[in-house]
């Protein structure tokens, strides 16, 4: 698709990125392939925004692969992206274990330990996704997890 000279900054922003729907099995390699598709689809938003979307989705999808599913078990993942003006709206579904009932993880605690040998090697994922995305909602219906959130974007570079 083309966004040529007639696209003024105010017009056509809401659907610059066509809706994207991806279905795949939750493995690290399939996540990598899905992210390549996302990156390609978001290219018109520019390097900074497409990088933001890729990173936020990488963390959300890694979480599905590592926690909802596990090393021994995988299952279907459905990802839907919709460009809505100043944000990419994300709907992410899986058939894995439910998320903790006490809400979405916040990531590692606010204070870093004094010694780098006490640094955590995990828990960075939610720290990253919480910084890049907002308006998280999670629901469990039957055996299906649905996580929705928005990733704010600046839109196509002039």
């Amino acid at each position: 698709m083309q966004v040529e000279g007639d696209a003024s900054p105010a017009s056509g922003r809401t659907d610059v990125i066509p809706d994207l729907r991806l279905a795949f099995f939750g493995t690290p390699l399939s996540v990598r392939r899905a992210l390549a598709r996302v990156r390609e689809a978001c290219a018109e938003l520019g390097e900074a925004d497409s990088g933001t979307v890729e990173l936020a989705l990488a963390e959300a999808l890694n979480n599905v692969v590592e926690h909802a599913y596990s090393d021994r078990e995988t299952g279907p993942v459905n990802l839907r992206l919709h460009h809505d003006g100043d944000a990419i709206r994300v709907v992410l579904r899986d058939h894995g274990a439910p998320m903790p009932v006490d809400g979405l993880p916040s990531g590692i605690p606010g204070d870093l330990p004094d010694s780098l040998f006490d640094l955590p090697e995990g828990g960075f994922g939610w720290l990253i996704i919480r910084d890049l995305a907002q308006d998280f909602a999670y629901r469990r219906e039957g055996r299906v997890n649905t996580l929705t959130f928005r990733i704010p974007v600046l839109g196509p570079v002039a």
Partner: protein, 112 residues
């Protein structure tokens, strides 16, 4: 994963010749780094100039490799691309690791 290493000046430079350190590559990355790093090397610079994407798994792998080194050893990072630099800043790992904009400058730079 293609990782090369050589001594340059006072630094042992480990270069990651891969575009991604993601969840699919993190374990390989960790294993390769352990392979190429001689025991007791004093100052390691991890050259990430070719890497355009790192996620929390890749970041965890970097932290893990550093933690396996001795306290007296140093691990520094160089040539981070914008998307990689951002991950280190978002997680405040930029306060834990010395980060050099440029590898050549990092090699020439003898931190006290």
């Amino acid at each position: 994963m293609d990782v090369t290493a050589e001594q340059k000046g006072d630094a042992f430079v480990v270069t990651v010749n891969a575009a991604r350190i993601d969840a699919a590559a993190a374990i390989q990355f960790k294993d390769r780094l352990r392979e190429v790093m001689p025991a007791g090397v004093e100052r390691v610079i991890l050259d990430l100039g070719a890497v355009d994407f790192i996620d929390s798994s890749g970041l965890g792998a970097v932290v893990s490799v550093r933690k396996q080194m001795a306290a007296a050893q140093r691990m520094e990072l160089a040539a981070l691309q914008p998307n990689v630099d951002r991950v280190f800043r978002l997680t405040r790992m930029d306060t834990v690791f010395t980060i050099h904009d440029d590898l050549a400058a990092a090699v020439g730079h003898h931190a006290g």
